[in-house]
């Protein structure tokens, strides 16, 4: 199960993903994140993954999708607090070379 929550402050929208991000959860995650970007116009999107307990390559598709959306809209995009297992998937795909990954809080 994947839970999606958000917080908005000073032009920064933070979307937190908590639980397991796989193919089963990916479509809903993309849809909900896109809805939040419409509801909360911002200058920067922070995708907080510190609550993820599992992620496979479907998570790459979610992050790449949001990265593209932010680039198209002119928003900054940062991935924050990625735990070790999802980070291994990002590293294997080379994503840290094309977008910003920040440590914890």
């Amino acid at each position: 199960m994947l839970q999606i929550t958000q917080a908005e402050q000073d032009g920064t929208l933070t979307i937190c993903l908590t639980g397991e991000l796989d193919h089963h959860a990916a479509r809903a995650a993309i849809g909900q994140a896109e809805d939040l970007l419409v509801l909360y116009p911002c200058e920067k999107l922070v995708l907080d993954l510190s609550g993820l307990t599992f992620m496979d390559s479907s998570g790459l598709a979610v992050v790449l999708h949001l990265h593209r959306t932010c680039a198209r809209c002119g928003y900054d995009f940062v991935v924050r607090g990625t735990p070790p297992q999802p980070m291994r998937v990002f590293d294997a795909a080379g994503l840290p070379q094309v977008m910003i990954f920040e440590r914890g809080e």
């Binding site: 397991e20 796989d22 193919h23 089963h24 990916a26 479509r27 993309i30 599992f54 496979d56 390559s57 479907s58 790459l60 598709a61 979610v62 790449l64 999708h65 070790p84 297992q85 291994r88 998937v89 294997a92 795909a93």
Partner: protein, 145 residues
């Protein structure tokens, strides 16, 4: 020839809700070898990738069965086999190429790359119209006593 010390098999329908069931079951079974957190994460990830491929591509327009078989060998070696009897892969070499996908926007085309990176050996046997068998072998590190 290494000695098989334990074996299990799971058969379930190709529904995306079963992706978590498959990886968690395999994770629970291999826990008896006392893998590191990183090894356990890698194993769950590659099972999730192969099962998702079977659901999304093998049984794209129908529901069928997926069989996951895990064999544990002496010397901390394990083999994971994921079999479907779906549509098969026309061009395995192309399918294994990074970023190649015929899936929708929830697919990154990195599934086989992840499977290759996180295991020691990956073999894909497929026959169009008959199905696909993905076999992965991983050697776990020795744990200190």
């Amino acid at each position: 020839m290494r000695t098989v010390i334990n074996k299990m098999s799971l058969k379930f329908e190709s529904r995306s809700v079963n992706e978590a069931f498959a990886r968690q079951s395999v994770g629970a079974f291999v826990a008896q070898l006392d893998p590191t957190m990183e090894e356990l994460g890698d194993i769950k990830t590659v099972v999730s990738e192969a099962v998702t491929n079977a659901i999304v591509h093998g049984y794209a327009d129908k529901t069928g069965f997926i069989t996951v078989t895990v064999r544990l060998f002496a010397g901390r070696l394990l083999e994971i086999k994921i079999k479907d009897t779906g549509c098969g892969i026309e061009n395995v070499e192309q399918a294994r190429r990074p970023m190649f996908t015929t899936g929708d926007d929830t697919r990154s085309g990195m599934g086989f790359t992840i499977m290759e990176t996180f295991t020691d050996k990956l073999r894909v046997r497929s026959a169009p119209g008959r199905g696909t068998i993905v076999t992965m072998v991983k050697l776990l590190r020795e744990r200190g006593t």
